[in-house]
Symmetry: C2
Subunit: 210 residues, 2 copies
């Protein structure tokens, strides 16, 4: 079995599109979400992000990486101004609309991309009505990553709306029942099929499917 090998010293000479595709693909399948925000002037913003990650369960915290020089900038400005935002899982039946939110619109992406805002009593930022897993967050911390000028936004989970039947008795989420999809690289979207759930790992005991 042969391998293609690339070294850091090769990266600067690579075609820039080739390099972006290659490096963006390395982390594997990503946690892709639509991020909903609202501005001081009540404009509703929606943008697709794949650099989202679990940070801890107690307290319930999630992280997101934002690039300030991109179409992400409205999202960041709104989060800093209002202090609230939403993550919304993406389903196959609206993945093209979700992708399209990454275009540079001068109007609300909800209207431009034909997605419906949903407002709760608690969160001033809009959720996506079409999403079956909706997460409301409050800004806790902004960390400027000087190494490459990106920004890490840490939020606490304040509100969850998850369609009936997805949350199992033990609290785990059946994401396939929710229709949540994943992405890879800059532009590829994938649905999933469960291989198995495995029991808590202990030395000397083979993991069992649960």
């Amino acid at each position: 079995m042969g391998f293609d090998t690339f070294l850091a010293q090769d990266f600067p000479q690579m075609d820039s599109i080739f390099r972006r595709n290659l490096i963006n693909g390395l982390s594997g399948f990503k946690s892709v979400n639509l991020v909903g925000t609202i501005s001081n002037t009540q404009e509703r913003n929606l943008a697709i992000f794949s650099q989202i990650f679990h940070l801890g369960a107690t307290p319930a915290l999630m992280g997101m990486i934002v690039r300030p020089d991109s179409v992400d900038r409205h999202t960041l400005l709104n989060i800093m101004d209002i202090g609230w935002y939403t993550f919304n899982h993406i389903r196959e039946d609206f993945y093209k609309q979700a992708h399209q939110t990454s275009a540079r619109y001068n109007q609300s992406e909800f209207e431009a991309c034909n997605l419906s805002p949903y407002f709760s009593a608690k969160n001033p930022a809009p959720y996506v009505e079409e999403s079956h897993v909706r997460i409301g967050l409050k800004l806790e911390q902004r960390i400027n990553l000087e190494i490459n000028g990106t920004i890490m936004v840490i939020g606490s989970v304040q509100e969850l709306m998850i369609v009936h039947g997805v949350v199992a008795e033990d609290g785990s989420l059946d994401l396939e029942k929710a229709g949540s999809i994943t992405c890879s690289g800059l532009d590829a979207y994938h649905k999933t099929e469960k291989i198995g759930r495995l029991s808590y790992a202990k030395p000397g005991i083979e993991p069992k499917e649960i």
Copy 2:
């Protein structure tokens, strides 16, 4: 369509296992990797991590969240001591062994879990021979996240070994050809099926499959 709703004020009263499962499932499908490290005394360590994310393509940087009080601690110690580590995508044919690395072993997880170390000329840390996408990283920065005591480790991509046929002409990775899988929550593993790749989004133009 009905939704189950949870509020932050409910979290402290929840059963702790229910809460851990619920919150760990929120980020959706995750970038699961085996992280290979080596100690000062040449002990080879391998641990499964799902809090891994792309940080930027130029320079090529990846982030990882580590909990210092868990079985992750050897990984962190080794990275801090040696300055090098590896990410290795997980395939279905060894996902149970990969899961099993999360047990608290007093010996090398390579031996205990029957996975093979592979060493390159450049990187002192071991790769996983069974993996079809192997990433060599050099430590660039450690950021202590005081908000919950976790640690963000930022590394620069130094070396890539990707099995033939996975890297397309435009640099994008066909992760299904590599057999890379994804995970959700604390213990569920999933394979994927591509829905589509979409063209770069521009206002007023419908995204096309590419």
